[in-house]
């Protein structure tokens, strides 16, 4: 169907072609109604889901965040902004998170890009699916289990014991910032690889040939063409990983020995140790706002870098 025809359809249907008040018009209206009803019905489960599991909890947290901590912990009704005024008390945790999230995401990117590049452009066709599956399969195991495994690999009976065999004694790997970074890269790698892979796979290879024909070195072709065109995938992966890292608490606790304190750890302690729900809620709200800002910023940057093409991050 060509464009103009399609456009004129509604006009014809309701007006010119049919006499006013005809049965056809009614039936058309009926069809529309049915269509709307159908749309509403189809959307209802998702809407209900979002309301029950996203909007209502968010409202509850917003209400908690202007309340007060009850003397024995928990929440008591109040209207105060004291919790928000108290945010600087967790400034270190916020700062640690603001450093970890981009650094962790960048480290992830450095490891993920070559893998995605190989998978999309270099890997033999018949191996590609298997290799992709290998990237995804670890995700089927709980992150908790995989992180615990790292605790034993990095712990005294793991790699340090092997190093001791070859005479390198008393190496400590577990509970160091390096261990946390390793855990993060390992844990979030698939989330970074897949979007980059998708954007590289769609890459029109004739552009690479053209670049070479016009005298560009492989390196400048990579930076000028390949990387630029895969930026939407890079930014998607980057913001996915970064937003998840903003709430990370498990890996720092297990591989950092609880010495590295992120905003996620602060939240856990506020709810489960000091039971200061209002303050915890205020931090949670702030964290959500920060995440939104990060997302918008990443979207903008990504749009600019990739030549104002529309980019879907999530």
């Amino acid at each position: 169907m060509s464009g103009p025809d399609h456009k004129s359809d509604p006009g014809n249907a309701t007006g010119g072609q049919l006499p006013a008040g005809s049965e056809a018009a009614f039936s058309m209206r009926g069809t529309l109604l049915r269509k709307n009803l159908m749309t509403a019905l189809l959307l209802a489960p998702a809407t209900l889901w979002l309301v029950v599991f996203l909007v209502l909890p968010f409202v509850a947290i917003a209400i908690f965040s202007v309340g007060e901590r009850a003397p024995e912990g928990g929440y008591q009704a109040a209207f105060t902004l004291a919790q928000y005024a108290n945010l600087p008390a967790r400034a270190t945790a916020f700062w640690n998170t603001m450093v970890l999230a981009p650094v962790g995401a960048f480290a992830c990117l450095l490891v993920a890009y070559p893998v995605a590049y190989y998978l999309a452009l270099r890997a033999p066709e018949r191996w590609r699916l298997i290799l992709l599956a290998l990237v995804v399969i670890p995700f089927w195991t709980s992150l908790l289990m995989r992180t615990y495994a790292w605790m034993y690999v990095l712990g005294g009976r793991g790699i340090p014991a092997l190093l001791a065999y070859v005479g390198i004694e008393d190496v400590r790997l577990i509970n160091t910032p390096g261990a946390v970074l390793l855990g993060i890269v390992y844990g979030y790698l698939p989330l970074m690889i897949l979007p980059i892979y998708v954007s590289l796979e769609r890459l029109d290879r004739r552009l690479l040939e053209a670049s070479a024909d016009l005298g560009a070195t492989p390196l400048s072709t990579f930076f000028g063409v390949t990387l630029r065109l895969s930026l939407p995938g890079v930014m998607t992966g980057f913001s996915l990983v970064m937003i998840l890292l903003l709430g990370e608490y498990l890996i720092p606790t297990l591989l950092g020995g609880g010495k590295v304190f992120f905003i996620g750890n602060a939240l856990v302690d506020l709810f489960l140790q000091s039971r200061n729900w209002p303050f915890g809620s205020a931090i949670a709200i702030t964290l959500v706002l920060v995440s939104v800002v990060v997302l918008i910023a990443a979207n903008r940057i990504s749009a600019r870098l990739s030549g104002a093409r529309r980019v879907d991050l999530i």
Binding site: A149, G155, L272
Partner: protein
């Protein structure tokens, strides 16, 4: 890896202990990951080992087929729950916790699903005040004999003459040292903290728990373990911030690190100290001569327990000295019940880790209820952890 980790741990309670190690003191259950991953559910379903005297109370009520208990890691003989299931048909789901604060948080939020839990002495008055627990129906606890309990440890279970909780065992909070790595003999909290910044640099662990970590830092200066005084807490904070960069970890999950040799010294509870020393003799358990904590863990039943009959049945079962003695052999914490002590082997009763000399016990303090809910100590802990 897990296999090698179990090496040298021959008996079955130890295997269970190892399973629990992975979940462990807090880090997981605190985040409620246990439930999500199903890891925290150590449901005892396998054995059919009968032979413990049946208790008449079981017949009287319908106990259902499952119940859930909240307790501490490495704290029970798994055989106990298996036997209980064999006798009553009730499967026991064990939830492991890292701190009293965390248990309180779960109960305050409601819907914990526990029919029995194990609070420490200093929390019981708060539970009662919040209406989270109710008086125990002693008629259902025929196996409990108050006259056989050592009164030094039972006081806080009874409020205004009403029994809200019955004791499980008592213990102390000291520190464990790997004497092969840190040969210098130690006997005080001052030495603990100083060593953490010297020979024990990068090898020392403190609890992820305000009561003991702040309390034992207060002991460095000889202040009360329970102090809420601003100036004293400020001194403790100063010490904690100074020690922080030298620590191996802030975690109550210290057995794996001590066993693996990653950590050489850690704050430690009696029962963990006894287990570590039993398996690795060079790990010694030390009580600070300045004092520190002495504690009693109790059993209590939440008001909103979904299966109270089973909760009572299990509690009564655990109060049976023949059952309790196995619990003590497994977890290594000293008993309060004279009937149990009579059944324990001599070497257990002579173990100085479990039963320290009187002059070491004298300066110890029971935790105070106020520390549980004090926002000042909670914020201090947060500043320490985020430093």
């Amino acid at each position: 890896m897990s296999k090698s980790y179990r090496d040298g741990l021959p008996i079955s309670p130890e295997k269970f202990v190892d399973q629990l190690m992975r979940l462990k003191r807090g880090s997981i259950s605190r985040r409620d990951f246990l439930g999500l991953t199903g890891l925290g559910v150590a449901t005892a379903v396998m054995a059919r080992e009968l032979g413990i005297m049946p208790t008449p109370a079981f017949a009287a009520e319908n106990l259902g087929d499952r119940m859930s208990i909240a307790t501490w890691p490495n704290y029970h003989d798994p055989q106990t729950f298996e036997n209980f299931k064999a006798e009553t048909g009730v499967a026991v789901e064990v939830n492991v916790f890292g701190s009293n604060e965390e248990m309180l948080a779960k109960l305050q939020a409601g819907g914990s699903g526990w029919s029995l839990f194990v609070p420490t002495n200093y929390t019981i008055s708060t539970y009662k005040k919040l209406g989270i627990i109710e008086p125990l129906d002693m008629a259902k606890l025929g196996n409990f004999d108050a006259s056989k309990e050592d009164a030094r440890f039972t006081a806080e279970g009874t409020i205004d003459g009403t029994i809200y909780a019955v004791p499980k065992n008592w213990g102390t909070t000291g520190f464990a040292v790997n004497t092969k790595k840190l040969a210098k003999p130690m006997s005080s909290w001052k030495e603990f903290w100083d060593t953490a910044m010297a020979e024990g640099d990068g090898r020392t662990m403190v609890h992820d728990y305000q009561l003991t970590t702040i309390g034992n830092a207060l002991k460095y200066y000889g202040y009360s373990f329970n102090s809420l005084k601003q100036d004293e807490l400020a001194k403790a904070e100063e010490l904690l911030l100074k020690v922080k960069p030298h620590l191996f970890a802030v975690s109550s999950d210290y057995q794996p690190s001590m066993r693996a040799g990653d950590a050489w010294m850690t704050m430690c509870w009696t029962n963990d100290g006894a287990q570590l020393h039993r398996d690795i003799p060079e790990i010694a358990y030390v009580l600070g001569k300045e004092g520190g904590e002495i504690w009693t863990d109790f059993y209590a039943i939440p008001k909103d327990a979904p299966n109270k009959p089973a909760g009572y049945a299990l509690l009564n079962y655990l109060m049976n000295p023949k059952v309790a003695v196995k619990e003590h052999l497994a977890n290594g914490a000293p008993s309060i019940d004279a009937r149990v002590n009579a059944l324990l082997p001599k070497e257990v009763m002579d173990n100085p880790i479990l039963y320290p000399a009187a002059d070491l016990l004298k300066p110890l303090e029971f935790g105070a209820a106020a520390t549980l809910t004090d926002p000042g100590r909670a914020e201090l802990m947060a500043r320490f952890k985020s430093a």
